[in-house]
């Protein structure tokens, strides 16, 4: 919960990690990749305010106490959602697995939600595992990593027939929030891993599922926006947008927010800190304080009001995850439509 100038915000952090990327967890022979991955993340931390930077050693493996302090005590987060990321090809016990994240969920059951994962390349065994995970952890969502390595394969697409079976299984199991990583990545070598056309395809075929595109397809935000405009069940996950741009590149941040507000709309944008890449505190405080610059360059972007910020910081995610929000944080319900919906049919000619 965050209070500022008489306004109160219910804060849901849509993208959290509790990872172990310390050398003890590196897979023998794959050290360069395990090391490269976490050092790349660490460089991204450098885009936040200097006083929030951590030394690499702490960044590789932080404690439960760090997590609780940074997220709950200092970070204003009421409910956090773990996006489990396995990467077992490089990290022996995984980077941050559902099992590990769930240990924290058990301790803070009202404050944390852990999402699972699946990979269509695991076939029947994967479907069985998903079913077990769903029952054991009461899954409401999954995080999918289409660029992940698996036994020599350099990635996969949601369009593949096998993916349809997993999505059908999700629907049957009541897993309705499908988070898809479309953002900065290292692999695969031979695919454009930012290509969001596969999300477009499944969003149409599975209208009852919600597809949250993590990192809004950066650095291909235009492809994401054109797609999201046409798909009512596609959401923008703002991890990296706020953490990576708001402090380091404020004018670009304002442009990206303006474009997202125009094409996607404030009802379909979800804030996320991407902790531990960035701490939540400065992001929440900065975002609540943020206003778009006044110059003419920004004049025809939709304006973001305090109510809009309340939605983005927590109310939108609370709806997707059925989180009870006390009345004092609610805003009067109103039908919000993205400004560009009527332009959707013209997008294909871009």
């Amino acid at each position: 919960m965050y209070s500022h100038n008489g306004d109160t915000f219910f804060v849901v952090d849509g993208h959290l990690h509790f990872w172990d990327a310390s050398p003890a967890n590196w897979v023998s022979g794959q050290e360069q990749y395990a090391k490269g991955w976490i050092e790349c993340f660490h460089a991204y931390m450098g885009l936040g305010p200097e006083e929030t930077h951590w030394p690499l050693e702490k960044f590789q493996k932080y404690s439960e106490d760090d997590f609780v302090k940074d997220v709950f005590e200092d970070g204003y987060v009421d409910v956090g959602i773990f996006q489990s990321t396995y990467l077992k090809e490089w990290y022996r016990d995984g980077f941050n697995t559902l099992e590990k994240n769930s240990q924290l969920v058990e301790k803070y059951p009202d404050r944390l939600i852990a999402n699972g994962r699946w990979d269509p390349r695991e076939g029947e065994a994967g479907l069985k595992q998903l079913e077990e995970d769903a029952k054991r952890y009461n899954l409401q969502g999954v995080k999918l990593y289409t660029a992940e390595w698996y036994q020599g394969s350099r990635g996969w697409s949601l369009k593949e027939p096998e993916s349809q079976r997993f999505l059908e299984k999700c629907q049957a199991l009541g897993i309705k929030n499908i988070h898809v990583h479309k953002g900065p990545t290292i692999w695969p070598l031979d695919k454009d891993a930012f290509d969001v056309s596969d999300v477009d395809y499944v969003a149409t075929n599975f209208p009852e599922l919600n597809f949250i595109v993590e990192h809004v397809g950066l650095p291909r935000i235009e492809d994401f926006c054109f797609m999201a405009t046409q798909e009512p069940n596609v959401y923008a996950g703002l991890a990296v947008v706020i953490g990576g741009l708001m402090h380091a590149r404020p004018r670009f941040f304002a442009k990206v927010m303006g474009e997202l507000l125009f094409w996607v709309g404030e009802d379909k944008m979800l804030w996320a800190s991407d902790y531990a890449i960035w701490e939540p505190r400065w992001q929440v405080e900065g975002f609540v304080d943020w206003t778009s610059p006044e110059d003419v360059e920004f004049s025809d972007y939709p304006r973001l009001t305090t109510d809009g910020k309340k939605k983005i910081l927590g109310l939108n995610a609370a709806k997707l995850y059925g989180i009870d929000v006390p009345d004092e944080f609610q805003i009067p319900d109103e039908a919000g439509e993205p400004a560009a919906r009527e332009d959707a049919q013209l997008v294909d000619s871009a």
């Binding site: 650095p219 590149r249 000619s349």
Partner: protein
Amino acid sequence: MNTRARVLEALSEVHDPELDEPITSLGFVTSCEVSPSGDVEILLRLPTPQCAPNFAYLMAADARNVVRRLPDVGRIEVRLEDHYTGKEINAAIARGEGFAAAFPGETDDDQLDALRELFQRKALVARQARLCEALLADGATPVQVTALRVADLPDDGDARRCLELRGQLGIGCDPNAPAFVAPNGEPLAADELTLWLRKARLVRTSLEVNGSICRSLLQIRSRRGAELEEVGT
């Protein structure tokens, strides 16, 4: 102009395919040495050791190709520094081979060409957006803007780059051709201009944001590199 200056000038023609900015102004060229006998050694450093290998390869290969066209140049060595696939890419470049040869069985060159073309089209949209916005800000109407011919374009960097990209994409750019075109080469109609510009501005923003993130990460990388050197580790 000495050989080194000519080499640097040639390198300024090499663009990051994803950002559509010269690798020289992005700060990716960390060293350029020419020996008395004309041998050239170029070092490239990208914003992170994990920058996409496909784009990394294209920049290194393009750098070698533009320098090879210069007279009085001997042996050319282009090397990516501190990149996780640098060894493979450097070896392929040294042999004059394609991307697929750097990573046998992992990719093929057709996909790389398609990716490059996709980004050339994005770059063309973004550059045209900048030109168009400037014209409209100066008071031109959509009808006037879409009636312009190539010969009417200003003599500036964006316009020159547009024509270069059109040439590479096989879109006609003789003086009488339309000044502004859709990515498929079709002329833009006046009544489409506002919506086209709305979309084009997003493409432009996307490219510019990516460029800014890359610059920030490169700064962080240089700063950390300097700190490590200072403490002698």
